[in-house]
Symmetry: C2
Subunit: 361 residues, 2 copies
């Protein structure tokens, strides 16, 4: 077995130590004589797995007691519709910040259910800059303010948490949850698809302040109602048990790494060395304003885009996988989530240096 | 490693041969240097896995070309709401057959969206009998007719497909899909949560006749719209990739077993020997009318229910797991899905014989 360097944007690399545990106990979970996948979600064994996962997540993010943690299916994309259904209450409008492809998808879906006010947008800059707090034209009558702290495709990450007064702040943390410490109390709701920093695809985590529950519109299917899921401890129906179990292993691994302070320092170092090399290479470039550069997703282009295919083929030969940029922006993208070790970033930089030297006159 | 006999109702036993493959390639899928879980759903490798899984399912069930197969999240329970949202069109009522706990849940959710006519019910018999075709008070103006071919909790399985004329028939096959051949062309839509006969929890398969698409109400979230999922080949957003992959391994395994004719013969034999033993034991009993007895879920009671706990503890000592009946009906239940080998049924009967002998005066 040769594990390669995996820069996939998602589903993304998982910690090798987590996969190792999952593999060892796949046929026989902890001596119980069956796989964790073959176990009732209502068995005391699985409930313990589920509760431990939630508690570890609460510990990692210091989630206050007045927040519910819900493990759901459907991904972050499903939440784009569920958020207005659950949070509008008797209001009819919501504020959205537009900083990229995922912001736009959230906005488009919300427009089915309410008046969306785009309170700031960096679209004119091709999503390479962050709107400043002073530029947010917030409406105090909005039901909530939605933003995307990290845009996976553009590689644009907020370096601040928007201040929204009494209006609840809702954030799609799919691609940067657990990458650094976070003050959850600043948010009304946080959500994150699992397949970047949490676990395998098919699971989404919703962290919601209790006073925002109880408002879901009657016209929504029951499965779209956060309140019902919260009351049923995420077991209204059969949850994605294997994903929940793997998420629990990831949370445990994160604690073993020293928690979010330690992983944050590592992530910052990984990103800094990659951006530094790109900026100084004279061959590669990243278009994002320095204060908005993502620690998780690093897009870059080559000086000569006719070399893109050669670069990708050489990378694959060197064991560096999934570096092709999203079809909407082109170029390259290295996603360096928590599970991507610093040695992978070092290997990438070494390859980039060799490639640049070979292709510079 | 000692694998035990697993009679769980769901999440349920998976074929050991499937788990064995999944375990071997968990860290390094087919020499690619990464787990199938760590791979983009849009990679050519994963798309091949996904397409092969769909084709194998089509082969197994001989699904006609005018049916779409969709792999979704949310489980069968989510479909209880999505079915009326997608299939009512400009109609306002739907027919439902009530044969147990799962029928009732489907009815309750549908009542949020339309007038539900319960066209037959065996509730007065405590769900131990099947309504006959002649007893179905069908409404030709209904948007569709919904039923539950196999009730997982009551162990009641239809021995016929209801004839509904021009009204589309919709069926929740969660607990008996792929257990025997099926004439898909008799149905407007079939759906099944994966966690019994398909794969791990967190995946649901929808098989829908193409002419029923295009009717979803605008008020539904996009993720609730079957048409959008069908048009996106189930990749509107990140699908539950690991579950889809495992489902594909299960379909491949079923083909290797000889397909549905072979598995059907085996399932019939497994069920027959267990019911025969129960009926002739003078100690255990099953309340279901003979024509409605499920091949998949066999509930049974002991002559003296004060022995239930002793029975279950002894079963566990004998390596026979998850035999406790559902809390709503009590007693015992042996779920003997495709992946439960005949040797497990034999081991169960042997234990039941020993236990009966020990506890008969």
């Amino acid at each position: 077995m040769t594990r390669k360097h995996n820069f996939s944007a998602g589903p993304a690399a998982l910690p090798e130590a987590v996969l190792d545990v999952a593999q060892k106990e796949l046929m026989d979970w902890q001596g119980n004589g069956l796989s964790i996948m073959e176990m009732s979600h209502r068995s005391k064994e699985f409930i313990a797995v589920a509760e431990t996962a939630e508690q570890d997540l609460r510990d990692l993010l210091s989630i206050p007691d007045n927040y519910k943690v819900i493990f759901l299916q459907g991904g972050a994309t499903a939440q784009f519709g569920l958020i207005p259904l659950n949070l509008l209450g008797d209001k009819t409008k919501a504020d959205y910040i537009n900083t990229g492809v995922w912001s736009k998808k959230a906005i488009k879906e919300a427009q089915k259910f309410c008046d969306v006010n785009v309170v700031a947008s960096s679209e004119a800059d091709n999503f390479t800059t962050l709107p400043a707090q002073a530029d947010l034209k917030l409406d105090p009558e909005a039901a909530y303010v939605h933003y995307t702290p990290n845009e996976t495709i553009g590689g644009l990450e907020f370096d601040y948490i928007p201040e929204t007064g009494d209006v609840p702040l809702v954030a799609d943390f799919s691609s940067n949850i657990l990458s650094r410490p976070l003050d959850v109390s600043k948010f009304g709701m946080i959500y994150a698809g699992a397949q970047k920093n949490i676990g395998p695809a098919g699971l989404v985590v919703v962290i919601i302040r209790e006073d925002l529950l109880g408002q879901c519109t009657d016209s929504a299917p029951t499965m779209c109602n956060y309140t019902v899921h919260a009351e049923a401890d995420s077991m209204l129906n059969t949850p994605p048990t294997f994903g929940w179990y793997l998420a629990g292993l990831v949370f445990k691994w994160l604690k073993e790494q020293g928690g979010l302070d330690a992983i944050s320092a590592l992530n910052q170092r990984k990103a800094a060395k990659l951006y530094d090399y790109i900026d100084n290479s004279g061959f590669y470039s990243n278009p994002v304003a320095k204060n908005g550069r993502s620690w998780m997703n690093v897009p870059f282009t080559l000086a000569d885009d006719s070399l893109d295919k050669v670069f990708l083929a050489g990378a694959e030969d060197a064991g560096l996988l999934n570096l092709k940029g999203h079809r909407s922006v082109g170029g390259m993208r290295a996603s360096i989530y928590n599970a991507v070790p610093e040695s992978s970033v070092d290997a990438l930089i070494a390859y980039m240096k060799r490639f640049a030297a070979e292709h510079t006159a």
